[in-house]
Amino acid sequence: MSRVRRTYPPRYEYGWGPIALMAVVAIAVTVAQHRARNGGDLSLPERAAHAAVWPVQSALVRGGDVLEDVATAAWRGRALVRENQELRRRVAELEAEKLWMKTYYHENRDLKRKLGWDGLESPDWTAARVIDWASGPQRKSITIEANRELEPGNIVKTDAGLVGRVIEAEGRRGEVILLLDARSAVAAKILRADGDHGMVYPAPEAAGGEQVLMLSKLRPGADVRVGDAVISSGLGGVYPKGLPIGVVERVESSPVEAVSIIAYLRPYADFDHLNFVRVARKGE
């Protein structure tokens, strides 16, 4: 069988014009991005990239789950049957438990109403799947797909604790800035009667790892102890009050001012294993 011999044009005959044009486009895109970022916004090409890639990522994540299920079923057929029987038994137990919980829930709601604590009703959280993880030197964010339309400002958490908030949304998909991102700041308080207020920021890497938060801007001589739980205070209106953030692991004096205190927190949310999260509207 004879092979077709390809001929190549001399280098000066390559279409350098289109390449120069594409270089100009690249420069324009870069300038547009810098301008948009200076205004705290996303540029048009970035929005277009999100609109094009996010649906593909969503489909790939779902497809991957199906493949994993099929592979698991093929690999562990007999064991799965036994596991299924065990799970059915467990579901029956949990259904019975749920009936009790519903009774407690209604009792609790009646008591709250009688005590005038209606305002502390928890928001209506909806589930969302994480479809992308982005972590740069300063930028730590995830992309999620929820069961309903998302809006910038939506609050995101896991069952363990606060994760962050939505900063960019397109339909049911949105980008979430994590508490570990350099731009994140949460008004917080120590969970204790008259607990001190402060702000939670991501800790510098030198403070002991990538996944450490710090509680600062506390009053001089604030009462912070190792093991204290820290929750959102609701001040500033960005996050609702009462969301668990983390636990104090270390307390230090500020290197700038000795009477100021900085507490380093271990976040409750496991940022290494974010696969599903819960989302609520800010005002809910």
């Binding site: 390559y14 289109p18 270089a23 870069t30 991005q33 890639v53 489909a59 994993e68 030197p137």
Partner: protein, 158 residues
Amino acid sequence: MLYIAYTILLVLTVGIQRTWPGWLLIRDQGPEVVVAAVVSIGLSAGPVAGCFGGLVGALLLGGVEGGWLGGTLVAYMGLGVAVGVMRGTLLAERMLVAVLVVLVAVPLVELVRMLFSAPPSPTPWLLKTAIAAPYSAIVAVPVYAGFRAVTNLLEAEE
């Protein structure tokens, strides 16, 4: 038509790179599938198509990653043009060449991106690149085969 096909394939490629399954990560690092795609386009269709692949790939990847686009655009477009110019002279249009080029291209692309946006410490960057380069070279086999097939199919039509 060829360029539309490349754009669709690049969207898919970026999606695959960004959602690489956790159980296939090596020390939290996946392959640079987009680098393999840009090399494949440059090697299959020349510098103009390579530059186009670099532009679209960098826009999509940079846009989704959320970082600065400048370094990514320079690195990917430069790679596409360079591979395209060298095809047929220094670089033969063969699978093995594509694999070797990707092996070399991944550290070069990461180096250019690092010049524009330096990482806080060099050790994780070195480790990441050391894993990504051979991993991407392996992934370049199906990526090159796919882009090569699409190029042959659509070039013949045109």
